[in-house]
Symmetry: C2
Subunit: 277 residues, 2 copies
Amino acid sequence: MSQTLSQATGRDIRLLCREQRWTGPTAGLALGYIQANLVIIPREWAFDFLLFCQRNPRACPILEVTDPGCAEPRRCAPGADLRTDLPRYRVYQQGKLVAEPGEITSWWREDLVAFLLGCSFSFERALLQTGLPVRHIECGCNVPMYRTNIPCASAGRLRGPMVVSMRPMKPQQALQAAHICERFPFAHGPPVHWGDPAVIGIADLSKPDYGDPVPLYPGEVPVFWACGVTPQAVIQESGVEFVITHKPGHMFVTDWRESDYYEIAETVANRREHLAN
Amino acid sequence: MSQTLSQATGRDIRLLCREQRWTGPTAGLALGYIQANLVIIPREWAFDFLLFCQRNPRACPILEVTDPGCAEPRRCAPGADLRTDLPRYRVYQQGKLVAEPGEITSWWREDLVAFLLGCSFSFERALLQTGLPVRHIECGCNVPMYRTNIPCASAGRLRGPMVVSMRPMKPQQALQAAHICERFPFAHGPPVHWGDPAVIGIADLSKPDYGDPVPLYPGEVPVFWACGVTPQAVIQESGVEFVITHKPGHMFVTDWRESDYYEIAETVANRREHLAN
């Protein structure tokens, strides 16, 4: 990736995607801008899914939800178009992946609702800046992710287990990481578990359900965070007839700065509209 | 009110309501337990309203949302029945108040969704404990509430202005109050404005749109908080054909303790289900 793109703005990246001049992962791009998971589902399922996010804020921290038929996220990226401004999408019908297009204009329908959910890129940057290890970045691979026996709170027709991501650390580092991540409720917050993986139903750390395995060094314990793959897994399993998501790692880059996170953390939405100026 | 009731639990109060042995306001009852505004609307409107709450967290801090047809708030009060466990309800059809019953069993429908929203009782207690004035409690009247020119973020078919409550304080006290209320995002959070009422579209403080006027003493400024009347006002104005709410001041008393507020504040929902034990 060009060094320039790490210094680009969220809008720069979105326009490159729109022109199909960037179709790769967004890790490391537009540093300092909050990136988001995308889930697009029909209006008929939108209440269930919004309620699911509300009840499972660790896995599904809501940044923004659009009105049905509206592809512009007016709060976190005014002027953006969610149909074209991500590098790569995934289209699911009846839970089956049917396409991985670079834009979804032809798939768009007036009854679709788009959800933008926080992603771990925000807190990983904070961990690295504090000198904490982020093993999959050291290894140049994807983060390992596992299905757990932790049930998500169900909502209407949506139910399923939490998916977690894992980063190995020494216990003292894990405490530091937990402290840091408390400040990122919009990016999955602090860990949900550390230590014995069997306690949360993970049989073998070397066989992640998604992503790549990473090594644990002597003295390290596995540290687990709620993961943005949870909603995709739940939605696919729950018989939703039509879903569009981003391709994993190919996120939507917002206009929001991580340095604004206190404000965003407080409301997980848009506080500004409530303040008299 | 009996002194005993101030020391009762949330469950005690709910059972008294269920037996119609308590039909009055809940201010001062079950001290330390979080109380909630109630909004019950048809499933057909539930996505719009949940999205409205999501986008307007100051006015509409969500404590819990039930699944359609489910009258039990399983998170904040397991075993409770929202059809009987409040002292007094209001039933609206086409925006018009048609009944003020003591229970709503005969009005219940399988497509109804119940929303429990945070209320200012929580932070008023904290203000009093810090020695700050809460004028309407000193005066023994209702808090004054005003429609403002602050637009709520609209959601689908729902739109309208924010309603605010007002408490007079000296500027230094207002700063203290803002600091305290930062810790109560589930109870409307810090003030949205203080000082000149005209800035937020209030022409005459002595003529509140809801509740009772209260005096300002020399050196005091009016301090305004987002108010739980906002959603009721918006819903009634937006043509929802059927809505049930609590009667103002006659709240639902949960099992949640104010002393747990840090946990509740972080998630505004139920964090416990996400923690491995």
